[in-house]
């Protein structure tokens, strides 16, 4: 029996500084053991516990897509002890990885539907995983139209800049990148994510909206989607909670009787409505 508490060794292969404040970095990790790599079968939307001995563990959403072979990526904001330590690491360092954990974006449910991806700031990581998965040559045909709306406070705070550019250039999706406030070099869109959603007005016809972002963005974005005719079943989001074990034993990440680590982090709005508002 595999011990679910024991992390697998991984090497930090590459570090990408995502934002100009350097507070968000993407870590590309490579498995030390081939068997671990084979076992780490994940789906977009899942997360894993990154760990540094002597500091602890931190649950982080997986930012890469399972179609990316040979590595797994995590985008980490510097906040607590573990994430600060991660930010101080250099390429080549060895850390621990435990997972994959949690449910995922419901790929089977999304199949054949038009997908509207709405992301704000740093909460975009597992949406990036989903996007890259759906845009993979072998997967693309499983999904309908893809509309992506992604915003950050400033141009410097947009994550995954090279990919955003590539997505904007793609003909099989529509990408709208926006910033709350541009700077002298910014030639793109300005405006809050909810406003842009209103302008873009994606059709709710056979469509699912997948929304992740800071609470204030979600609060103002949801009414826009209701107005567009999206039902609560067709709006999905991913919750964040303080977690420890990651598989439903340690008892701290529950919202009502659901455990975000094991029953989530992905929930539909309809599911959340049935749970106590304690997150």
């Amino acid at each position: 029996m595999e011990n679910p508490y024991i992390p697998m060794p991984v090497t930090v292969d590459k570090i990408f500084i995502e934002v100009d404040t350097k507070e968000i970095k993407t870590f590309r990790l490579a498995f030390v053991n081939k068997t671990d790599e084979e076992r780490f079968n994940y789906r977009p939307g899942q997360f894993a516990e990154l760990s540094i001995y002597g500091k602890g563990e931190s649950p982080i959403g997986i930012a890469s897509s399972p179609t990316d072979k040979g590595y797994v990526e995590f985008t980490v904001q510097k906040a607590g002890i573990v994430t600060s330590e991660l930010h101080d690491l250099e390429e080549g360092a060895q850390i621990g990885l435990r997972g994959p954990l949690g449910n995922s974006w419901p790929l089977e449910f999304l199949e054949g539907k038009n997908i509207v991806i709405v992301g704000g700031g740093f909460a975009f990581t597992t949406l990036r995983s989903l996007a890259n998965f759906m845009l993979n040559d072998e997967q693309r045909s499983r999904f309908g139209k893809i509309v992506m709306i992604y915003g950050a406070r400033t141009p410097g705070l947009l994550c995954y800049k090279p990919e955003l550019k590539a997505w904007e250039d793609r003909s099989d999706m529509e990408t709208f990148v926006t910033v709350d406030k541009g700077d002298n070099n910014w030639k793109g869109r300005e405006g809050f994510v909810p406003t842009v959603c209103k302008q873009v007005a994606p059709s709710s016809e056979n469509a699912v909206a997948v929304i992740c972002g800071p609470p204030v963005m979600i609060r103002f974005t949801l009414p826009v989607f209701f107005e567009l005719g999206f039902s609560k079943e067709n709006i999905l989001t991913s919750l964040e909670m303080k977690m420890k074990c990651g598989f439903g034993k340690c008892g701290r990440c529950n919202v009502g009787h659901k455990y975000v680590c094991k029953d989530g982090p992905v929930f539909s709005l309809a599911e959340l409505e049935n749970l106590s508002r304690e997150y």
Binding site: Q94, C250, G251, R252, H257
Partner: protein, 337 residues
């Protein structure tokens, strides 16, 4: 079949048990008793109503190493801490506490990913239950269909007679354990009768009780009620209730390092503490003590029922007895309407 030993020979019995595995039994501690690993048969006492802390620590210690590591200039060397899964015997577990193991099994052993620490020790555990011979005003195990002399879930049931202890095994494991102690007397027909009498008496102990029908729905229905403010008004938000509880199982995972040597540890935690749900960002979904008390009650009487089909409480009364401000869990649940 009944076996028996004179009360004066308790130490001999304890020494006999110690030969079959690590023995955990009640030992005087402070003004009360607690389950301890027994190294000296003389330390065991069976003169107690119930222990201050529950027996859960026998399978789920307050702090347990997951990984041991060593951090040096050359890097980090780590290895999983060995799971201490040797055979364990618990002597003197009250019938309500025996049920707590079954409740915890559903979480640690029977749902989704199995917890290897609990699981390994659980399968190597022999439980000697100890029937109550009196009631305490605080207990309410009757509410969960548990009686004062229930053998359910135990390997051996022990009762106390005037001058002796009587035993009856209910599992093969129990029978075999008793057979390792030839000095135990074979019970006579009279002893048989005595045992039945004592068990009957134990069964008739009337504790407080609670209408548990649809309780999880009732609690779900009043989640937003101002009741919780009222119920938690006196609460100090210490962790006593959760640390003495036989079914509270929430834990933290922490790295504890000293001079480069350390361990990643599973450590009991309490939903009563404000940092239990505090995010690294500073956000906390439960900032108020009323929210935390509500979580504790709901976790036991609502969420656990939803997830595992059983109320996560055995009515042992420990939390009420140990509460510094006399918050009574039964009253809190009863008045939650």
């Amino acid at each position: 079949m009944i076996t028996k030993i004179g009360r004066e020979k308790l130490q001999e019995f304890v020494a006999g048990l110690m030969k079959s595995g690590r023995l955990f039994a009640p030992v005087k501690e402070g003004k009360g008793t607690n389950f301890k690993l027994i190294t000296d048969p003389q330390s065991v006492t069976l003169d107690f109503y119930n222990t201050i802390q529950s027996p859960k620590a026998v399978l789920f210690p307050q702090s347990e190493d997951l990984v041991n590591y060593n951090i040096s200039h050359d890097g980090i060397a780590s290895e999983p801490a060995p799971i201490d899964d040797g055979s364990r015997i618990i002597l003197g577990v009250r019938p309500c506490d025996v049920q707590s193991f079954e409740i915890m099994d559903r979480l640690f052993n029977g749902s989704g990913i199995v917890d290897p620490y609990w699981s390994a020790r659980r399968s190597n555990l022999t439980i000697i239950a100890y029937a109550f011979d009196r009631a305490d005003p605080v207990d309410f195990y009757n509410a969960f269909g548990i009686t004062g002399s229930d053998e359910q879930g135990s390997d051996i049931l022990m009762v106390r007679d005037t001058n002796s202890f009587l035993f009856k095994a209910f599992t093969d494991k129990g029978t075999k354990l008793l057979e390792t102690m030839p000095f135990l007397e074979k019970g006579t027909a009279d002893d048989e009768k005595r045992m039945t009498e004592i068990v009957d008496k134990g069964r008739d102990i009337a504790t407080r009780t609670l209408d548990t029908a649809e309780i999880h729905k009732r609690l779900a229905g009043i989640f937003d009620s101002p009741y919780w403010e009222e119920a938690a008004a006196a609460c100090l938000n210490c962790g006593v209730c959760t640390y003495v509880c036989p079914t509270c199982h929430c834990f933290d995972i922490q790295d504890e390092t000293l001079f480069g040597e350390g361990s990643r540890r599973k450590i009991w935690d309490s939903c009563m503490f404000s940092d239990f749900t505090l995010h690294a960002s500073g956000h906390n979904p439960r900032t108020k003590k009323s929210q935390r008390l509500r979580q504790r009650i709901n976790h036991k009487f609502s969420y656990y029922v939803e997830n595992f089909g059983i109320i996560s409480c055995v009515g042992c009364g420990r939390c009420t007895r140990s509460c510094p401000v006399n918050i009574d869990i039964l009253t809190v649940v009863e008045e939650a309407r």
